[in-house]
């Protein structure tokens, strides 16, 4: 094996680590921005319209940035790793669609006493994605 190829792969692994850290950073920032939009208007700026609009725009901008970073993360993976993550995303989307549709109706048909919330659906999708990725990694071990 020549040294150049080893160096190239080390570079690829380092790049993957860097992309993973960037994705983690953007996810945390986006989550903080989400909290800012959810709680800021009531607790920080007393529903000031312009501050709320600014917070929403920042939230959307950071969300778009996170999508771009996630795409770079996927492109930096090798084909098996990419397949594992795309399969996990497909599972998450499917479960989100099925669960979200049913969950939204539960209050209308009086099976639950509270209003269904989007964060509950997002939590299910995050967890499904994580479980899907772990199962995929185990499947190809």
């Amino acid at each position: 094996m020549n040294a150049k190829k080893t160096t190239d792969n080390c570079h690829t692994l380092a790049q993957t680590k860097k992309n993973t850290l960037r994705l983690f950073f953007w996810s945390v920032v986006w989550a903080l921005a989400t909290a800012g939009v959810a709680f800021g208007p009531k607790n920080l700026w007393n529903f000031n319209k312009w501050l709320t609009i600014t917070a929403v725009l920042i939230h959307i901008g950071l969300g778009l940035g996170m999508i771009r970073v996630f795409k770079q993360f996927l492109l930096g993976l090798d084909e098996l790793q990419r397949k594992i993550h795309l399969d996990a995303m497909a599972l998450s989307l499917g479960i989100g669609l099925v669960f979200g549709g049913s969950y939204e109706m539960l209050e209308d048909i009086k099976l639950i006493p509270f209003q269904p919330e989007i964060p509950h659906l997002l939590t299910v999708m995050y967890l499904t994605y994580a479980v899907g990725a772990i199962l995929g990694i185990r499947k190809y071990q």
Partner: protein, 64 residues
Amino acid sequence: MKNRLKVLRAERDWTQADLADALGVSRQTVNAIEKGKFDPSLPLAFKVARLFGLSIEEIFHDIP
């Protein structure tokens, strides 16, 4: 799909990590291909064939 990757690698006394380095993929990917759990893309199959100096058909076999 079956393949002779493990045999070819062993003939050259390479580890999975060595082969992964040469192909620019993770060791997990090499392991999954060797075990027949994952079929490589055509570009990766060509890369494997070039590395061993063989044709794709001499390395990978379709199982009917």
